[in-house]
């Protein structure tokens, strides 16, 4: 099996061994997730390649996880890269069509307080999140599951730190709104 040269080149022997084992275990899973996200050919290749680069930077995080959790983290990383790729393609199409460039969903209704989380079951929270748009789900995964900073999210999405904070806040508000709607 071929291993990316960047992994073989790692100076730190422990990191190299760790990343090589991780790659051997999960390289097919990564392609599978990209494929299932609707990406084909060069788009799928781009998603897997970009995810590998993101994962190399997440070694300290991955080291603290069990194998199953690592697979979950890796799958989420590829899924998010795929979502971002879709978002960029959509934006390019909209720009070409003269439509709005950013896929922002406007806020609707009064803001729902975070208190709603205290009276909901976990399943209700999950259901609310899974009803969000792909963009919002991507932001929620990055912020809460992968625990990434707004600066880090901003860098990956190619937006400013302020814009990333605003998108996180909006995604959370919309998640609360969905949970509330389900509750009613």
């Amino acid at each position: 099996m071929w291993i990316p040269v960047v992994i073989l080149q790692m100076e730190d022997v422990e990191s190299k061994g760790f990343m090589e084992a991780l790659y051997r275990r999960n390289h097919r899973l990564m392609y599978r997730v990209a494929w299932r996200s609707g990406l084909r050919s060069s788009d799928a290749e781009d998603a897997v390649s970009q995810s590998c680069l993101n994962l190399i930077r997440a070694i300290p995080t991955l080291r603290q996880m069990g194998e199953r959790e690592q697979a979950g983290y890796i799958a989420a990383t590829v899924r998010n890269v795929a979502r971002n790729l879709h978002r960029e393609q959509r934006n390019r199409r909209e720009m070409a069509d003269g439509e709005r460039a950013l896929g922002e969903v406007p806020d609707e209704g009064a803001a729902v307080d975070a208190e709603i989380l205290r009276r909901c079951t976990l399943d209700e929270v999950k259901r609310g999140i899974s009803m969000l748009s792909e963009d919002d789900q991507m932001i929620m995964t990055m912020r809460f599951y992968q625990n990434r900073s707004s600066k880090d999210i901003a860098r990956e999405l190619g937006i400013s730190d302020g814009a990333a904070r605003s998108r996180i806040s909006r995604a959370v508000k919309r998640a609360f709104q969905k949970i509330k709607e389900n509750e009613e």
């Binding site: 990316p4 494929w35 989380l117 999140i129």
Partner: protein, 257 residues
Amino acid sequence: MIQKQEMARDPYQKYEEAVLELATYELAMEELQRAEQPLDERTEREMEAQYRASLPRMLRVIQSGERKRRWKEAAKRDIPRALKAAAALVLALNMGLTVAFAVSDTVRAQVVEFMLTVRDEYTEVGFVPTGEEIDVPEKWTFNYYPTYIPEGYELADVAVGTGIGGVVYVGKNNHCLSIDISDFYSEGNVDTEGSTIYSAIIHGNEAMIAEKEGEVTIVWHEGEWIFTVMLTEEDSPADQIRKEAMRVAESFSTVQK
């Protein structure tokens, strides 16, 4: 999980953050389970075929992406120092190569050849030095290396793993020579899309030459080892690239550090 960047301020907020973390974690694990479910046989076959065809390009994109990142980081670190020197502009222009050279030390290695010396009662069998010495990367652990590297090319990258290794040399105008060796446990593809394919004989073994604009790739095997030489010179004539790549391939020799 990594350390929280934006800590919640009171127990309720901590609880809310934890609920969102747990919910997104469970959703991610559910998504993993869905991703692992096999698709129908035909789709699985199609996906596997695309995966295998994509592998070489993915590896190259990963490599160049990480290299760019490392050079950018090194640039941030090294440029302020370089600017102190009188030749700041020259250094900045050559920054990429300068950074790469710094990590690639070489050592002298002896080229050896197989020798049978017939005596009256027995025959000596073994490898003996030819007297020729070449530079090989210090990290290189394999007993094969080309004795010919085109003029002007400098060692930029070395990667060595179990049963697989590679070196990259760079020349002027983004010329690039990539040499890989792998054992028979390795699997992989060579990107031949849009290439003209020839065959040739290298050291008595059949070799494949894939040629497209500005790039020639030669692959052959010797015993259990698979060798790949890829030469990219976008501004050079095709026959010159092929000739140089063949010369590198044919110069592969047994070496001893």
